[in-house]
Amino acid sequence: MRNYIIKRILLAIVTIFVVMTLTFFIMHAIPGTPFRTGNDTISEESLAVLMTRYGLDQPLYKQYLKYVGNILRGDFGVSTSNGYRSVTEIILTAFPISADLGIRALIFGTIAGILLGIEASLHRGKAVDHLSTVIAIIGISVPSFVLGTVLQTVLGLGLSGWVKTVFHTDYQLFPIARWQSFRYTLIPSFVLGMGTVASLARLMRTSMLDVIDQDYIKTAKSKGISGWAIIWKHEVRNALMPVVTVLGRMIGGVVTGSYIIESQFAIPGLGKYLVNSITARDYTMTMGLTVFYSIFIVASMLLVDLLYCVIDPRVRLAK
C-alpha cells in the first residue's frame, strides 16, 4: 500500500512536469509578447527594454530552464497583465473564492445527485424516476449561463420585485450577483452544481439497479435485514464505486471550471485570470495557473484513487 502511494505520487509529479513543459512551449508559440499582443502603441525601444528586463530576449530553452528553476524555488513570477502583482498572491486571493464556490457546488451536486439517483432506482418507472430523468436532461443539456440567467431573472429580480410590492422592503433572498454572504452563494452554487447533479443522478441510478439484482442483496434479504438497512449498508456502498471514479474528474472540473459563472455573477474568482492571461500573452500568469490547476487536478484524482481503496476492499490487494 505504501509503495503504491509513493509510486502514484512520483507519477503525479511527472504528469505535472509534462503539463508544465507543454504549456510553456505552446504559450511561447503563440504570436505576440506580453507587451505587444496586437495594435498596441508601445515603441520599439520600450519593447526592447521590457523584453530584456523580463528575460524574454533570451533563447527559449534558457527561459524554460530559468522558469523551471524558479518554480522549484516556489517563485511563480509576476503577472504582466495585472499591474505586475505576484502570481502567487493573485492565486492566493482569488482561488479561495473559486474553491468556495466550487466546493459548495460540489457538495450540493454530489449529495443531491446521489440521493436523487437512489430515489429514482427505488421507484423505478414512478414519478421520482421520471423527475430525475428530466433533471438530468436539463442539467446536461441546458448551458449554465442560460440556467443562471433564468434563475437570476425569476428568483433574483422577480422574487425581490414581488417582495418589494408586498412587504415594502429591499430584502433580496437571492441576490443577483456578487459574493458576500451565504444568500449570495445560493444561485451560483446551484447552477454550477447542476451538471454534477445530472450526471451523478443517472450514474447512481444505473449503478443501484445493477446492485439491486446482485445475489448478495438476496442473501441480505434472506437474513431478515430490514429494507432500509439493506439499502444503506448493502446497496448504496456497492453502488457508490463507479460514482467515486467519476467524482475524481469532477472535483477538478467543478472547482476550476467556473469561469462563465464567475463572470456572470461577478464573483472575483480565479476563472477570469486564466482566460484574460491567455489573450494578454501573460506567460507567467497562464503558466502559474496551469501548474496550479494541474497540481490540483492530479492531487484530487490521486485522492479519489485512495478513497477507492477505502470503499472497495478488492482494490487493496491489487498493489
Partner: protein, 348 residues
C-alpha cells in the same frame, strides 16, 4: 412442520404471465432433509424462495395456495413479520458463493449483522457487538474455517469458493434456524468440495436438528444427503416420496429419465449419456395436460388433454401419471416391464 399447499406463483414478464409454479404441495417434516429435483426452469427455486418470499414483489404474484409454518400462513404475514422469520426461523444458502456475499463487507460483519438482527444477549437485550463477534468466531470454527479470529476481518474475495459456501452456512446457521433452504448449494463448486459441503450440511442437520430443503439437479448429491425427494417438472410436483421410493421404485417416466441421465460407474467411455429429448414446456402458455407429455415416450392421448391425478402408491410415495390409472390399457406395469414388453414387440 412446514407445509406447502397447492402453491401457485406467477411472474409478470414482458412476454406475459409466467406461471412458474402451478400448484405445488410439499411437506417438510421436522428433522427431514427434503430434496427438490428437476431441470432448470421447473420451478424448484421459485418454490423454495417463495417460502421466504424473496421474489421482487413488484413482479411476483402469489396466485394461490398456502405456505404453512406450524399452521401459520407465511404468505399472509406482513413484511415486518416475515423479516423476523427470515434468518431466524428459516434461513437460506444460495447457489453461487462467489456472488452471494457482499464484496465490500468483512465476513465477520456479515455474520454479526444477522446475529444483531435477531439474537438477544445474556442481559436479554439486543446482543452486543462484542458478544456477536464472539458468536461469529464460534460459527466460523463450527464450519471449520481455520484461523477464524483473523479471518473475521477479511473480505469475501480473500476466501476460496468452498470456504465462502462454508461462511454462507455459518451465516445461515447463526440464529439456529429450524429450517435451512439450500438452493443448489454445490452446483458452483468443485466436485471434491461438493462432498465436503454436503457432509457439513448433513452434520448441521444431525447436530442442530435443523430440517433442510435442498434444491438440486444433481441426483448424486440428492442420493447422498436427502431423506425424501420431490421431483418437479413444468411448475408441478410429478413424483414425491422417500429417497428409496424415488431411486428404486419410481413410477414417473420423467423421474426415470433424470436417473438414467446420470453417468454410471463402469459405463463404457464411448457410450453417449442418456438424455431426455426435447425442451421443457413454455410456462407462459403451460400445457393443459401433463407437462411432460410432449417428451414422454409413453405418452397417450389422455396425457395431452388432461392433467393426471395424483396417485398414492404408498404412505409416502405419490406420483402423477396416467400410466398408473386403473383404466390405462396396461395398468400397474412398472416402467421396466413396459420397456421389456416394447423390446419384445420390436424383436418379435
Amino acid at each position: 412442520m412446514l407445509e406447502i399447499k397447492n402453491l401457485k406463483v406467477s411472474f409478470h414478464a414482458y412476454s406475459g404471465e409466467v406461471q412458474a409454479v402451478r400448484g405445488v404441495s410439499l411437506e417438510l417434516k421436522s428433522g427431514d432433509i427434503l430434496a427438490i429435483v428437476g431441470e432448470s426452469g421447473c420451478g424448484k427455486s421459485v418454490t423454495a424462495q417463495s417460502v421466504l418470499r424473496l421474489h421482487d414483489p413488484a413482479i411476483t404474484d402469489y396466485k394461490g395456495g398456502e405456505i404453512l409454518l406450524d399452521g401459520k400462513d407465511l404468505l399472509k404475514l406482513s413484511e415486518k413479520e416475515m423479516q423476523e422469520i427470515r434468518g431466524k426461523v428459516i434461513s437460506m444458502i444460495f447457489q453461487d458463493p462467489m456472488t452471494s456475499l457482499n464484496p465490500t463487507m468483512t465476513i465477520g460483519n456479515q455474520i454479526v449483522e444477522v446475529l444483531r438482527e435477531h439474537e438477544k444477549g445474556a442481559d436479554g437485550k439486543k446482543i452486543s457487538r462484542k458478544e456477536a463477534r464472539e458468536r461469529a468466531i464460534e460459527l466460523l470454527k463450527m464450519v471449520r474455517i481455520p484461523n477464524a479470529e483473523r479471518r473475521m476481518n477479511e473480505y469475501p474475495h480473500e476466501f476460496s469458493g468452498g470456504q465462502r459456501q462454508r461462511v454462507m452456512i455459518a451465516m445461515a446457521m447463526a440464529c439456529a434456524p429450524r429450517i435451512l433452504i439450500a438452493d443448489e448449494p454445490t452446483t458452483a463448486l468443485d466436485v471434491t468440495v461438493q462432498a465436503q459441503i454436503l457432509e457439513l450440511m448433513k452434520e448441521m442437520q444431525e447436530q442442530k436438528g435443523t430440517s433442510i430443503i435442498m434444491i438440486s439437479h444433481d441426483m448424486g448429491a440428492v442420493a447422498s444427503i436427502a431423506k425424501s425427494v420431490a421431483v418437479m417438472y413444468g411448475g408441478l410436483v410429478v413424483e414425491s416420496g422417500t429417497v428409496e421410493d424415488i431411486f428404486y421404485r419410481h413410477e414417473h417416466p420423467y423421474t426415470r429419465g433424470l436417473l438414467d441421465s446420470v453417468p454410471k460407474e463402469g459405463q463404457p467411455k464411448d457410450r453417449k449419456l442418456d438424455s431426455i429429448e426435447g425442451t421443457p414446456p413454455d410456462l407462459v402458455k403451460p400445457p393443459v395436460g401433463c407437462p411432460f407429455a410432449d417428451r414422454c415416450k409413453y405418452a397417450m392421448k389422455v396425457c395431452k388433454d388432461h392433467m393426471p391425478p395424483e396417485n398414492a402408491l404408498s404412505e409416502s410415495h405419490r406420483c402423477s401419471c396416467w400410466l398408473l390409472d386403473p383404466d390405462c390399457p396396461q395398468p400397474r406395469l412398472s416402467l421396466k416391464e413396459y420397456d421389456a414388453k416394447e423390446g419384445d414387440q420390436n424383436n418379435g
